[in-house]
Symmetry: C2
Subunit: 452 residues, 2 copies
């Protein structure tokens, strides 16, 4: 079989110099040679490409929208890239079971817009709205609303998957409850393209909340803000989002967007949202929320207008982009028990003081997911790699010590692989590799990611 027997349109098979740099230049600005980049339109073409890869002993890397932050799609050379961005159709929306069936190349933003226009809601809300649903599933993407609604994992009812030998299986079911053998759905979710190629996803959607209101609480210290978060959770407030950041983190995006954050008081902020079907409940919970923040010494509590709410969330969404305008940086994504959240902010302050590197932290406080950015500033590449590695080795050891994990929602990919190895037991990694072998004995799908 030849590639042009599988896909006859030249625009959907790129080889040699026709391959864009987005695929062939890695994060260290090194160019690698790829076998080809293919853009299949349907499952059969994916199957044929996989069989072609088997016949020619090629490694396959599956691409979505390339918004990942863990280098899970980096190439080493010689690979067949299967880019699913043209498999981007919404196939069906079944209102009886509230199931949306999509191809993997549909973006998260498209899914959200589509279902909201019909009065329904797809809660997973990662920062990159142009990320693909296939990629969201492959990394178990989370986002702002995970504290109330969970992550992508909680919204996948069923999938169609092409395996390493070209077998096509269906995992999960549109039926809600499932105790019928090992749960392959959950195994493939978060497997970063190493176990199979997702060609169809059946998503769970829910009725759209009728009311939504955001708030800002400004605190005089990190500790006060963090204690307030624990109080909010412990009191059973049904909060949709609780974002935590320091004044200086939001300053980067203020500069980038040329917008002003609604509060100028305090040094640490909580940006929070309630949503639901009952306005009175939101108002009642907001009163409890305000009281809790005051009990924890908040210097300001703002009920945001729609305009201020858009500004505040836009600034929050752009913290990372703001930081990137200043310096190259390493984006982190660790996950700690919620009561350890503040300790990591303190720890990163210590690291800053000791290392001389800027270390900006912000995160999803309601679920213990911290996004720290370590800034390269003016270090040479060698100094930067060395210093970064030293900081990360200590950081991940501390994360592990408190029972946390190196990745909450970005995945392990290539960037966190050494640290994943550092913190997991060798027995644990052994069994992950055994699972990989069970599905992909030739190590054909995205080898070298997550583990060696």
């Amino acid at each position: 079989m030849k590639l042009d027997n599988i896909i006859s349109e030249p625009s959907r098979i790129l080889q040699g110099s026709r391959i864009p740099e987005a695929y062939s230049v890695n994060e260290h600005s090194e160019k690698v040679n790829l076998h080809a980049v293919a853009y299949p339109l349907n499952t059969q073409e994916v199957v044929d490409l996989v069989k072609y890869a088997n016949q020619n002993d090629l490694v396959i890397i599956t691409y979505g929208a390339n918004t990942g932050l863990a280098e899970a799609t980096s190439a080493f050379g010689g690979e067949l890239i299967i880019d699913l961005s043209k498999m981007n159709q919404i196939i069906d929306f079944d209102l009886d079971t509230l199931t949306l069936v999509v191809e993997p190349g549909v973006t998260n933003g498209e899914v959200q817009q589509y279902v909201e226009s019909k009065g329904y809601f797809y809660p997973p809300d990662p920062g990159a709205k142009h990320g693909s649903i296939g990629g969201n599933v492959a990394t178990n993407a989370g986002g702002m609303r995970a504290v109330k609604y969970g992550t992508t994992r909680d919204y996948v009812r069923k999938m169609e998957i092409v395996l390493a030998n070209g077998d096509v299986i269906e995992t999960g079911s549109v039926a809600i409850k499932n105790s019928s053998g090992y749960n392959l759905n959950h195994l493939f979710i978060g497997s970063e393209g190493t176990l199979g190629i997702i060609t169809k996803v059946y998503l769970k959607v829910i009725p759209l909340p009728k009311f939504k209101q955001s708030y800002i609480a400004a605190f005089p210290s990190l500790d006060d803000a963090a204690e307030a978060v624990l109080s909010i959770l412990r009191n059973g407030l049904d909060i949709t989002a609780v974002e935590f950041f320091e004044r200086r983190a939001i300053a980067y995006s203020e500069q980038l967007l040329n917008k002003t954050f609604p509060s100028e008081n305090g040094v640490a902020y909580l940006l929070m949202t309630f949503d639901g079907m009952h306005e009175a409940v939101i108002q009642e919970e907001a009163q409890r929320l305000e009281k809790i923040t005051h009990d924890h010494y908040a210097v300001e509590f703002l009920v945001l207008s729609e305009e201020d709410s858009l500004t505040a969330w836009d600034l929050r969404d752009n913290i990372l982009a703001g930081i990137l305008t200043i310096s190259e940086q390493e984006p982190l994504d660790y996950s700690v028990p919620v009561n350890e959240f503040v300790n990591f902010f303190k720890y990163t302050h210590e690291v800053e003081a000791n290392s001389g590197l800027n270390f900006i932290s912000f995160g999803h406080a309601g679920d213990g997911n911290i996004h720290s950015s370590i800034l390269r500033a003016d270090l040479t590449q060698d100094e930067w790699q060395k210093k970064k590695h030293e900081i990360l080795t200590n950081l991940y050891a501390y994360v592990s010590e408190v029972g946390g994990l190196p990745s909450a929602e970005h995945g392990i990919g290539l960037v966190k692989k050494p640290y994943f190895k550092q913190v997991m037991s060798s027995e644990y990694l052994h069994y992950l590799k055994q699972i990989k072998m069970a599905f992909d004995p030739d190590n054909r799908l995205n080898p070298g990611k997550i583990f060696d």
Copy 2:
């Protein structure tokens, strides 16, 4: 190593004639010879027992409270039974992360009572409150409240597991978000003792809802009741439980308990609950609920007093027990898309008419989980097995045709194994077996369950 070096107390190692029939007599009343029944008290003893089984090439079956309905713990002869019922301690309750740490032998009822006494809530609520948490995890037990709160799977943060070779691993994390390699937590949940032995479970608990109210709607037909359920779900009512049964199903438990169901009208019932933190919301939703049921021709809508609520739920919980007083029966547990629910009730009526066998159906309408009971009545054992097999073969083919699954919350075990094989593709089963081999290459843990 000898067994009495591992466990020195004779009361915790039973062999020969000291083994109770509960372990050694199978569902066909056949007695099998077992190697031993051991009652370990801690993880180290479990590890030593597993190593002993490896040295002596014994098969291991793990027991919880023996409340399973899928014969997942049936013995074939020669096995070492590891009964975890004496590992029954509540180890820790961490209020910061709302995590309850328990040994596997603690029962579901004990967990519910313990956390409720402290103002918290463990939602998974299978019929058998004396089932063990280890067993709940091994079957992904569901129950009445799954429509709002999900199943056991959604409440397991982390586990300690002893593997087939005696390795001990930890899966999952107390940290909420996890995108760190393949999710082993979810793989072990629902694996029915075939992949490892659960020795510690970290459960997620939530704040206890302050208000709870149950309702009965009586309908003139199955169709009307089923359409009402779809309307309730589609309208976004945040309902905790929606149980569906026919008049004649509840009649069995009325007879058994000598109690009267609060409604005597109609032929099909919905027994429903709302719970939550806001009484006004429950009242408002109840008004919407009442309107929906009236729109679907309900002949009665009752807001239950506490006493009537207890009676109604007690009668619901005892449908199966009531049926059992009349006849031997086969308890089913299939899972279908919610909009197929009523079709299966109609189908079972047809089967009854054609087969001459009674086929009582009831179930968790809100999540498409149907518990049918086929009654043996006065058939001979041969006739019963033959007729039952014919009915089940057709039933599971139909379940599969609509995208459903043979088990929603009981597991496959031994009883559904032939039908699981019938409805799943051979490729799918191949990969399940590959996973089994990855964790248990000697096929030492509960072999012959789920698949051959």
